[in-house]
Symmetry: C2
């Protein structure tokens, strides 16, 4: 029955248009100015129609999250793809996510906001599952890196499951994103270039897990080279329109 299939396709297309419109509004005017009526109007629909797709505003927010997660994962996967050792791949994952957070601050803020208890529990359960499912690759990718390292003898066994080991770098990265995002904190402590700091700490952390060191984590030049190397493979993804973009710390512009 071709009619039914067409219907479904149209439904999915419309949903995507709603999501895009919502995303655009967030990018343009901030999370605070996301209104259901405006999203519907932007797609030339009445407000009620929106509620055939999303049970509530929170539901819409989480839908956007699930939608954006795909892109986030893709960027990370691509960054890790070109690295050889387990350690390099782990670092690449963190750098990619960090770049994503820098380049798409609104999306990243949305991730934080939506994973808040208030929003999370106001959405429908199925939508929550969607978000979790969409984010599954994140944890799996990190754990896979550990697993591959163990298999190839690249890493020493830790008596911990790959996922448990993976939680360390993952938490460190998330936490640093948080601190960076919490405006004021970094200025408070006069910490410039927090993302380079993240990389340094990540290296130190891997050292602690006795992953063989590539170079001294305190070697600033080597660190920069590594970041640039990873970034080079990512800028097409992250800056489609940009030409000649290079790694530039978010605070670098501020210093005269």
């Amino acid at each position: 029955m071709g009619t039914r299939q067409r219907r479904l396709r149209e439904l999915a297309e419309r949903e995507q248009r709603f999501l895009d419109a919502a995303r655009e509004q967030i990018t343009e005017h901030g999370l605070l100015s996301l209104h259901m009526a405006k999203v519907a109007r932007a797609c030339d629909y009445a407000t009620g129609t929106l509620y055939q797709h999303f049970a509530s505003k929170e539901d819409l927010l989480l839908a956007i999250c699930a939608d954006q997660a795909e892109e986030r994962m893709a960027v990370m996967a691509r960054a890790a793809q070109w690295q050889t050792g387990s350690r390099e791949r782990m670092i690449a994952l963190a750098v990619a996510d960090m770049l994503f957070a820098i380049r798409h601050p609104d999306h990243f803020r949305l991730f934080q906001y939506a994973s808040t208890e208030v929003i999370w529990h106001a959405a429908s359960p199925s939508r929550r599952d969607n978000v979790l499912e969409a984010h599954r690759p994140l944890g799996d990718m990190v754990a896979q890196v550990v697993q591959d390292g163990l298999d190839s003898g690249d890493l020493p066994p830790q008596n911990m499951s790959p996922h448990a080991v993976a939680l360390g770098p993952w938490a460190l990265t998330e936490g640093m994103h948080n601190l960076v995002n919490a405006e004021g904190v970094l200025d408070f402590y006069a910490l410039h270039d927090p993302y380079r700091l993240l990389l340094r700490h990540l290296h130190l952390q891997l050292n602690g897990m006795q992953w063989q060191p590539l170079f001294d984590p305190l070697d600033d030049v080597a660190l920069t080279r590594q970041i640039s190397h990873i970034c080079a493979s990512l800028f097409d993804d992250l800056c489609p329109e940009g030409t000649g973009h290079r790694y530039c710390s978010p605070t670098e512009d501020r210093t005269p």
Copy 2:
């Protein structure tokens, strides 16, 4: 002029009563059910009066944060107080914060929610400064531990400022709290007792910074003993009414 002073005192007292009422409502009915009208009514005031103290709902939320921060800091300070080495003090800070998050989940969720872009920027600037100021001890405590360690020769120099070094353990702890709070994530990866995992990773991280190890981070028994030791000095703070409370991982109850 005694009148003026009395006025100010009354003002402060009333503000505190508002804050307490709001906190109670959050504890009782969750963040979603915090309504300005109800807070005012709980203190036998009209709604409008609330707006003489707090410019908006977000302002009130941030005020609660600043208020609660004091308690959070106090618990951490107390935990670190009884430890001798730099490494133990650093661990104690993390454990204390972790316990605070477990024992006061609502407060902790509020911290997360309020540091969200949406809430943060809807509050008044002076209130935001309040929150930052109230949280300053957090970063300073962590950095102080590093500084003391360096001064006493307890720690090797890292070519990094104490605050920069401190950001590592700090971010790791925050990040782990986040992941734990993001419901579903841990079940997804079958990770039980995430807080013990935090401790393990913290030890591994300190290893990486070449802080001399106390024991093998993978030694589960030693880890538990250390956690219990730190907790013992904290339960009076965290469970005023509780008698005979002991450390118990949040997931321990679930397993039959």
